[in-house]
Symmetry: C2
Subunit: 344 residues, 2 copies
DNA sequence: CTGTTAGCGCATTCAA
DNA sequence: TTGAATGCGCTAACAG
């Protein structure tokens, strides 16, 4: 590992003590200009690089933060991780990254590992917990600045950056309703997930505001399950005329189902979804979605964390920041607001 | 940082020396069962967690690897990072992650930072270097195991995991040619990028094998530039009847252009691309692509790195591993191999 | 089986 | 302005 010059080597070559080297390198003004030059020359000559491990241990400060996401193959999480990493880089911090695969135990294990590595803080997209409270509530994390992203942890002191899930879902549903649909169905993952339950609530509120009966289908995240359940849903006698999908994965699954059934929105059915995705506007027609500011979300989370790191232990209760969502009307609901009047 | 119990606290409570604690915790057999129990009880009681920083410093072994990708918002890179991270987790290693934004200087800076943190090895998707050799050839990295992914570094000793770029591009181009197209155009980013020049070569070879003149357009990665240049290309009198796009970004850009022109492949033009992407099969018709085994790519890179870590410094020259690419025929070229005979 | 001594590479404290 | 002693938290090497 350290096949490199150490500070003592530099000191030896420059004819000073290690303290002087340390001072010279850290910009301490109490070093004469001559000495500083001698030290820098020696540093150059020996290609000295400080050992950050030793520095961290001594200074009790690691200049690292940790990120835990469910995974990186979901583009939404990847964009969040990217944004966080950018901010960290700007602050000259390193990022330790890990994935939980939505398993609370893995999340806990990885968070603990990071703690043992003395990360100064954590940004976490909490894993799905169906039974019991988050393992991150454990005592060992009590003193660690933690910001949760996309999903809050109930009863925690953590800062949390969220989006207007309920409002967004309501917007999307209302869009479908405003186009004359009465039987608008909701398609979501388990309501154990915060984002899902809030979006579900938004949908329900929109329906009930019009005196309509909510029509909800909950599926697992596999394509197979969506395929089965959505097909079933669409085969009923009073089948829905419009679908609202609670995230981009389900929107894509649904598109597969509709494709398999030879249905092309908005022709026989209207479709809108929560979450924009890369090629939503390249579909024919484009898919109408409620979009969230992913990049800003990650950026904000990181900035809040760095704010906390700079605070004196004044650990007030966690603050919640909610970012806006926005409806992007394309063609998949039959609305006429596409660029050139056609359903793109 | 360390507001936690230290090993000496555990030792004190258990009435033994820190060495005994260390031994008990690290599974050293030279500890009596009674003592071990006493130690473990104390550990439990004080909620002791070892300080990995100190351990790393002392053991000269950090149990961390670094990953540097151009960015994480490109799904291809995100999938690679995800796969690498999984493998690291399996080996109980931490992952330090950083982005280069395709800037060699940033790449160098981040790699250096990781080196100072004593990562044991690096997986890098090398940043685009138009002028001069990679900065990773610098002396400080001489002893560090490095695996480059997706792109090799010329003249380096690094292991490298690549895909059959040339062969894949040739396959894709030949597919278009086999459907009767003569004027097949290539659309790529700068040939300074390894993946681009090799794919370009594959395309050219396919054309020349049929005695056809290659027709290449090079664009920057912005949508605007693609928009301008592709529109120009398609407006020529002898405009191409088929397009081969060198990566998924360009395929998507091209779809935007075609959409703006009201052209829908395979009707007025055929389209194929290198790189599969999330919704390629949801387009109408689905987009024919040459796909690469992204996940396996990342996994292999990580495994090769861990192999190197377990080798005794027998640092033979870098090995190159090339993974296969595969043509996935959908509807965008007019071939008839879609599921139900229609162009999905 | 257990403890003592020493030191990983650095910076804080105090003294000169 | 500089240096010596000390210790961050841990484990390797040796002693007992």
């Amino acid at each position: 590992m350290s096949r490199f010059a150490r500070m003592s080597d530099v000191a030896g070559l420059a004819g000073v003590s290690t303290m002087t080297v340390s001072r010279a390198l850290n910009g301490n003004p109490n070093v004469s200009e001559v000495t500083r030059q001698r030290v820098l020359a020696a540093v150059e000559r020996l290609r000295y690089q400080p050992n950050e491990l030793a520095r961290s241990l001594r200074e009790q400060r690691s200049r690292q933060i940790g990120i835990i996401v469910p995974n990186l193959f979901d583009p939404f999480f990847a964009i969040l991780a990217n944004a966080i990493s950018q901010v960290a880089q700007k602050h000259s911090y390193s990022v330790v990254l890990s994935t939980s695969n939505e398993l609370p135990e893995a999340e806990f294990a990885e968070a603990s590992r990071m703690l043992r590595r003395n990360v100064e803080g954590l940004v976490i997209i909490p894993a799905h917990t169906s039974r019991g409270p988050s393992l991150l509530l454990a005592h060992e994390f009590e003193q660690l600045p933690i910001v949760t992203l996309d999903r809050p942890i109930e009863g925690s002191r953590f800062d949390s950056i969220l989006v207007e899930n309920e409002h967004g879902a309501r917007l999307g549903t209302e869009h479908l309703l405003s186009l004359g649909h009465k039987r608008v169905a909701y398609l979501g993952l388990t309501d154990d997930l915060y984002t899902m339950s809030t979006r579900h609530r938004g949908y329900t509120a929109a329906m009930e505001a019009r005196g309509l009966k909510p029509l909800s289908t909950i599926v697992s995240s596999t394509l197979e399950d969506a395929m089965t359940k959505v097909k079933l849903l669409l085969s009923e006698k009073k089948a829905p005329t419009a679908l609202f999908c609670a995230n981009n994965l389900l929107t894509r699954h649904t598109l597969h189902v509709l494709q398999a059934l030879g249905m092309h929105p908005p022709e026989s059915i209207a479709l809108a979804g929560f979450d924009d995705f890369e090629t939503a506007d390249l579909m024919r027609p484009g898919i109408t979605v409620v979009c969230q500011p992913s990049e800003e979300l990650g950026q904000t989370a990181a900035e809040v964390l760095f704010m906390r790191l700079n605070e004196q232990g004044s650990s007030r209760r966690g603050r919640i920041k909610i970012l806006p969502t926005e409806l992007i009307v394309r063609g998949s609901c039959g609305a006429n607001e596409t660029k050139n009047g056609k359903h793109l």
